[in-house]
């Protein structure tokens, strides 16, 4: 049994544009231990987000494997990848990516709905998660009625609803002011400490990275 919640082995990612091949990730091997709050840091254009998306199964490596619970998710077909996204991972994006015509509660319950489960069974869980992210009063509001910070809290709640093993966050404070950003990072740290969730976050800010307990530096597609 691997001690890693997620592990990349020999990841290579190439992009083919107009007959030219760009080698963006070059033989990256990295693991994130269960219960860790790791930050992937690096300058703009270091391909850190690409690494995160590959680790989270939203993108495929050109070569290499991504192991989660001993299984190579890079080899999963669409059905298995979709199931994994619903049950095993949660994603928090820079631009929240909430469905605009669904309210807060519906957005949070979306992975549950897609998994074919009954929403009624998740009432208690929804209530608890809304309390954790401090949005109990806003459960009937649509995303456009919320501030950026509140929308990001909804995204975090959505990432938590199915009790996933790992939460991936791509620049979760990149679109927020510094005060709200700090609140979001403190919330992620609290989730990591209180619930023991493994968190892997991409950031270019050293201050943001310090909320975690490990930093992974990426430069020019290589982990340093």
């Amino acid at each position: 049994m691997s001690r890693y919640a997620i592990e990349a082995r020999g990841i290579i990612k190439d992009y083919h544009v107009g007959g030219i091949v760009s080698h963006v990730l070059r033989d990256v091997s990295v693991g994130v231990a269960t219960g860790e709050f790791a930050s992937i840091m690096g300058p703009s254009g270091s391909w850190k987000s690409t690494l995160l998306y590959i680790l989270g199964g939203l993108d495929n490596p050109t070569r290499g494997s991504v192991l989660m619970n001993g299984r190579d998710i890079a080899q999963f077909d669409d059905t298995n990848k979709s199931i994994m996204r619903r049950r095993n991972i949660g994603f928090v994006f820079q631009f929240y990516n909430l469905i605009p015509n669904l309210n807060v509660a519906e957005n949070i319950l979306l992975p549950v709905l897609l998994d074919g489960k009954k929403i009624g069974e998740y009432k208690r869980q929804l209530k608890e998660i809304l309390e954790v992210v401090g949005l109990t009063e806003k459960r009937k509001h649509t995303p456009r009625e919320l501030s950026g910070g509140q929308q990001q809290r909804v995204a975090i709640a959505r990432a938590l609803i199915n009790n996933p093993d790992i939460i991936f966050a791509d620049e979760p404070t990149g679109n927020l002011d510094s005060k709200t950003g700090s609140e979001i990072l403190a919330l992620l740290r609290e989730i990591n400490r209180e619930q023991g969730k493994t968190i892997l976050m991409v950031t270019h800010s050293k201050d943001a990275a310090q909320y975690g307990n490990r930093m992974i530096y990426v430069r020019d597609g290589v982990v340093e």
Binding site: S49, T50, Y53, L58, D59, D78, T79, S82, I83, R85, R86, R87, F91, F93, Q94, F95, N97, L98, I99, P100, L110, P111, L114, D115, R158, N175
Partner: protein, 162 residues
């Protein structure tokens, strides 16, 4: 006594049977209606292009939303069901409305525009149902493009930028 021969004996004359008269009349009416029939086909093609164009625009607008759904676990199968359900329901609603409106329109034209014409249009239900089914079919065919395109969608590219 006036003889017909005396009145018309020196002029050319001709005669026609009722059958010939009817055929001649139908030819005139058909010649008059032919452009309208051609126009009907043109309108049908235009409507088809319009429906498919709407569906493609709808798909382009919804690419990001679809990527959002896929990022939280929607599979290609679920996306196909969702897109087909959407296509079928919008096609059905559109077809029912179109059938009712065109039925009423034809009836109203004869009532308002030609009240002295002593004939009623013969409307066949089958024709309306066929046209409705064709509309639903076109909407479903239009749903195939989004389904195929969404299968190969690169989620990250759709989500990365706001």
């Amino acid at each position: 006594m006036v003889q017909i021969r005396d009145l018309f004996g020196t002029t050319n004359h001709w005669s026609r049977t009722i059958k010939e008269f009817t055929e001649d009349g139908l030819r005139t009416v058909n010649a008059f209606l032919q452009p309208m029939q051609n126009l009907t086909w043109f309108i049908l093609i235009l409507a088809t292009v319009g429906i498919i164009n709407n569906l493609i625009i709808n798909y382009i607008q919804k690419r990001r939303a679809t990527a959002m759904y896929k990022s939280v676990g929607m599979s290609n199968w679920q996306n196909m069901i969702m897109t087909l359900t959407e296509g079928l329901s919008s096609g059905l609603i559109g077809a029912v409305i179109a059938m009712i409106i065109s039925w009423l329109e034809i009836k109203t034209i004869f009532l308002v525009a030609a009240p002295r014409i002593a004939m009623q249009p013969k409307l066949e239900l089958g024709t309306f149902l066929f046209a409705g089914a064709l509309g639903v079919g076109i909407t479903l065919i239009g749903s195939i493009v989004p389904i195929v395109k969404n299968r190969s969608m690169k989620i990250v590219e759709e989500l990365k930028f706001d």
